[in-house]
């Protein structure tokens, strides 16, 4: 009997140690999701916190109840606790545990719906969003700046404090664009253009990675997002225009071939490359994606996260 008890103790101690390790290190900045630097990530973190608290409210009592019951009603000859083998109904109790989860789900559901709608569009304020077009390739990320006319591979420079409207597509298998410290991810899919807005409030370099499996080189599908002050961003654009080669159609064809590579910078890129890519990969089958023919501007993308095709 004693042996069993010590064994259980050992188990519990082990658990506790793991839990402590997790909790304690939870404060370090390596926990990217818990240390967002922009409004999107912050709202998501808020929801994460809220949901954690709500589920804890339900499951902690479950644990306590279970350990209490198992201890109280264990099968020992000297156990004096009540034994009622036919006690099997209670309207009140059942009402309670149909009721409480309904309330919890109600609260969390409401918060979820609210956040879902809140994150659809960048906030309407005076700051004009920056548009960055993102093409995921095997196994690299191409960033196109339609208004600045520069392009980069595997890193993306953005100004701080400015909402960035990422337009996402893929010219390879599906991938997912994820920069944990800025906010959640969105899929990149060939033949489709999707939108995700993010914003960095602090200057810094943020880890980004493809989050949906794309085959052999997937583990190396990493990129950086570098947030810098407005001034710095503009001077970076100027400098890039002067000191780097342009991305040509042939250059793009080469990029498209499956490979793993480092970072690259281009002073220019073929006009309409993004739309042409979407179109060539079957964009014509996504009604509502383009107002007019190839080369035209996507009128609205598939809304932020909305696709007209129903699927």
């Amino acid at each position: 009997m004693d042996r069993r008890k010590t064994r259980r103790r050992a188990g519990q101690a082990g658990l506790l140690a793991v839990a402590m390790a997790v909790l304690l290190s939870g404060c370090s900045p390596e926990y990217m999701v818990l240390h967002p630097v922009g409004p999107v990530g912050r709202q998501e973190l808020h929801l994460i916190m809220l949901s954690t608290v709500l589920v804890l409210i339900v499951i902690v009592p479950v644990f306590l109840l279970m350990f209490y019951i198992v201890w109280r009603y264990r099968d020992k000859p000297d156990n004096k606790a009540q034994y009622q083998p036919h006690w099997a109904h209670s309207k009140v109790l059942e009402f309670v545990w149909w009721g409480i989860p309904i309330v919890v789900v109600g609260i969390l559901g409401a918060a979820t719906v609210k956040t879902t709608y809140a994150l659809v569009k960048p906030p309407e304020n005076n700051v004009k969003p920056l548009t960055v077009e993102v093409v995921s390739l095997d196994w690299k990320w191409l960033f196109l700046y339609p208004d600045q006319h520069v392009a980069t591979v595997n890193y993306c420079k953005i100004p701080t404090g400015v909402p960035v409207q990422f337009e996402l597509t893929s010219d390879a298998p599906m991938n997912s664009f994820w920069v944990p410290q800025l906010g959640g991810q969105e899929y990149t899919m060939p033949g489709m253009s999707m939108r995700l807005w993010l914003q960095a409030d602090e200057a810094g370099t943020y880890y980004g990675h493809g989050a949906n499996f794309t085959g052999e080189g997937f583990a190396h599908d990493q990129f950086r997002v570098v947030a810098v002050g407005d001034e710095n961003f503009n001077s970076w654009v100027q400098q890039t225009k002067q000191s780097y080669p342009a991305l040509t159609q042939a250059g793009y064809a080469k990029l498209k071939k499956p490979s793993v590579m480092g970072e690259a910078t281009y002073s220019a890129f073929p006009k309409g490359l993004f739309n042409a890519t979407v179109w060539a990969d079957g964009g014509q089958y996504m009604p509502g994606m383009f107002k007019d023919v190839p080369g035209g501007k996507p009128d609205k993308g598939m809304s932020d996260q909305g696709m007209s095709d129903g699927m």
């Binding site: 064994r7 188990g11 658990l15 997790v22 939870g26 999701v33 929801l47 994460i48 949901s51 589920v55 339900v58 499951i59 479950v62 279970m66 019951i69 198992v70 009603y73 264990r74 099968d75 156990n79 034994y83 009622q84 083998p85 006690w87 099997a88 059942e94 149909w98 989860p101 789900v105 559901g109 979820t112 719906v113 956040t115 879902t116 298998p173 599906m174 997912s176 994820w178 944990p180 906010g183 959640g184 991810q185 899929y187 899919m189 060939p190 033949g191 489709m192 999707m194 880890y207 990675h209 989050a211 794309t214 085959g215 080189g217 079957g282 809304s303 932020d304 996260q305 909305g306 696709m307």
Partner: protein, 656 residues
């Protein structure tokens, strides 16, 4: 000639790929030689054929499912240990990307389709007919066909690693990555064909058990007297019926794309990969309830038995099973919240997903209050059930967190998700299957599994579990993606991954203890002479262990929900013993080789499609047709078991 052999060796046997393949080759070869040798030496070929390969007895089919499930658990577990070994430290090169990708794909696919599924079918077969007072399932012949389709599908899937290459695009197998343009090898075909074959068999099982439970109950057993395990099987079978057609269609369409140049999912010609993703999850999400509902059924039996008490809130239990069945079919989009379905769709599916937590919670509380005011015996099935309550409550909690759509933008495809689903699949399903196995083992084999070794296995597996998967939640918050074969050193992921790997090995050790426990107990396990070793409550425990092949000499008339417990309480158990004069001859279905042969034909047809050897495929499909026609023309597929023989058998077990 020599050239041809070398070509064959290179392309199909992959001799150039190095030690991993050679090792597997040697292992497989040794196993085959071992089995053949043992059977020949012990002169067991005939026995194998007569008693097992051609059987249509639900109890034997259940045992065969169980054996396969345990073997596949081992195979999937070895995959898991390889995965964890590779991830133990940053920049590791124990496995290369190609093999790692194959291994996590086969790990996931095998664990869900070739471990969890046969495991639940094992329990379906072992318990349901006995619980509801039936002689067999509704369609014993179909039952055998389902088993052999599963068996040969699993076989086909398993040989892929050493014959042509395994699939490597994840168990979800999304196009366009799995289209010919990106994935030329036969691996993906293996995945599609073998899942299709086992999928057909699974539909057969679903139909079979719905019919069994609705139509084969003993007289007097109204639906509100059906034991909760059988209710759970009914719920699970209904989900099978509604979900599996979607999987089969998804697989077939992708196969058409790959083999016949169709364009369902190739975007440039107008295909739409998101259609695959929808079809896949229209099956894939309900699939997790298919397996977990059965585990819920096991817990209901175990908790009542080992608390020596009626189940609390029986009607709520039934209602919640049905609620999960229905709501579970309406949540699939939560697997791709981040695929741009728009806020309306995401909101709907977020809330519907969370709503599943409500009936599940009701079950949790009813189990707890079944124990309340009971007398709790901490036997192995009960230990696993308690472990389940803790583990699954956490799994459900993280599931509800995932269901908050905007938050899922941060969890999706990260290790947070990996931790969630292992906690649900292991804490919910594996624990439940083990509890069920321990619970019904004496009924199947007539002896109990050793408790002491079992406790070692229990603690190792549980401690290993938390050490392995708790750190993965943290890794998710650290931004680690799933399906990376390696990761850089500078992100601080190393330590937690290392801990996780240690946990995996502890679980492996726990599994080894189970193996030891089984081997030890065959020889030394406590024999079950009463047929009611747990002092349990439902009809199957009124029969001797192991159960005679006709199950009930005389079908009982059911008057109570926990019939056996009531009779014991009132000292009326004698009433369930057959009187010699009541025993009549029983129709028993004949054994048949055809289900097995049908499986063989499907295997070769599958192989033919995998490698596009269409002549082979056509011949094998012809074989299928011949088998089916032969069955159609079979006039007498039953024989009579004489009353005398039944009396003799009953007398032998001391019941007459």
């Amino acid at each position: 000639m020599w050239e041809a052999i070398r070509h064959f060796g290179d392309t199909y046997l992959m001799w150039r790929e190095g030690p991993l393949i050679w090792g597997s080759d040697v292992l497989i070869l040794l196993t085959i030689i071992g089995i053949v040798f043992a059977l020949t030496y012990l002169k067991k070929w005939k026995w194998l054929w007569r008693e097992w390969l051609t059987t249509v007895d639900h109890k034997k089919i259940g045992i065969m499912y169980l054996v396969c499930a345990l073997l596949m658990f081992f195979r999937g577990g070895v995959d898991a240990l390889l995965i964890r070994t590779q991830l133990a430290e940053p920049n590791n090169h124990f496995l290369d990307a190609e093999h790692y990708d194959q291994i996590f794909t086969t790990h996931g696919t095998i664990m869900i389709l070739f471990m969890a599924m046969p495991f639940i079918f094992a329990l379906f077969n072992i318990a349901v007919p006995l619980q509801i007072g039936a002689r067999d399932v509704a369609f014993p012949y179909l039952n055998a066909i389902s088993f052999w389709l599963f068996f040969f599908a699993a076989f086909l899937f398993n040989i892929s690693f050493v014959f042509g290459g395994s699939p490597d695009a994840g168990w979800t197998s999304y196009p366009p990555l799995t289209e010919l343009g990106f994935d030329k090898g036969p691996g993906e075909n293996y995945y599609l064909v073998s899942l299709l074959i086992s999928g057909i068999g699974t539909l057969g099982t679903g139909i079979n058990f719905i019919a069994t439970i609705l139509k084969m109950r003993a007289p007097g057993m109204t639906m509100m007297k059906v034991p909760l395990f059988s209710w759970a099987v009914l719920a699970s079978s209904i989900v099978i019926l509604t979900a599996f057609p979607a999987l089969n269609v998804a697989l077939a369409l992708l196969l058409f794309d790959r083999l016949f140049g169709a364009h369902f999912f190739t975007i440039a010609q107008g295909g739409n990969p998101m259609m695959f993703i929808n079809l896949f999850w229209v099956w894939g999400h309900p699939e997790v309830y298919i397996v977990v509902l059965v585990a819920f059924g096991v817990y209901s039996e175990v908790v009542a038995t080992f608390s020596r008490k009626e189940i609390f809130g029986y009607k709520s239990m039934v209602a919640s099973l049905m609620a999960i069945t229905v709501i579970g079919d309406l949540t699939w989009v939560h697997h791709f919240f981040t695929m741009g379905a728009g806020p309306d769709v995401n909101s709907f599916f977020a809330v519907s997903t969370m709503a599943v937590g409500i009936p599940t919670g009701v079950k949790m509380f009813n189990w707890l209050f079944t124990m309340y005011r009971g007398r709790i015996r901490l036997t192995l099935p009960m230990l696993w059930t308690l472990a389940f309550i803790v583990c699954f409550a956490i799994a459900g909690a993280t599931g509800v967190m995932l269901a908050a759509a905007p938050a899922d933008y941060q969890y999706h495809n990260s290790y947070f998700l990996v931790a969630h689903f292992h906690q649900a699949l292991i804490g919910g399903v594996v624990f439940g299957m083990l509890a069920g196995m321990y619970y019904w083992w004496p009924k199947m084999f007539g002896f109990q599994l050793d408790e002491r070794i079992g406790r070692w296995a229990f603690w190792l597996f549980n401690i290993g579990f938390y050490v392995c998967f708790m750190p993965q939640y943290a890794l998710g918050f650290m931004g680690m993606q799933r399906r990376m074969y390696t990761y850089p050193a500078d992100l601080g992921w190393g330590t937690l991954n290392f801990i996780s790997t240690i946990g995996a090995y502890i679980m492996g050790l726990g599994f080894l203890f189970i193996v030891v426990q089984v081997l030890y107990s065959i020889k030394y396990g406590k024999r079950d002479v009463t047929g009611d070793i747990w002092d349990a409550r439902t009809l199957e425990w009124s029969l001797p262990s192991p159960v005679p092949h006709y199950n009930f000499a005389v079908i009982p008339h059911v008057t109570d929900r926990d019939m056996w417990a009531t009779l014991k309480e009132q000292g009326r158990t004698g009433e369930l013993r057959p009187a010699a004069s009541d025993i009549r001859p029983i129709h028993m279905p004949n054994n048949s080789a055809r289900p097995f042969l049908l499986g063989v034909c499907f295997f070769f047809a599958g192989l033919g499609f995998v490698f596009e050897w269409y002549v082979l495929a056509a011949l094998a499909l012809l074989g299928v047709a011949v088998c089916l026609l032969a069955r159609s023309f079979e006039l007498h597929d039953e024989h009579d078991l004489s009353a005398d023989e039944i009396r003799r058998t009953e007398a032998l077990s001391g019941r007459l």
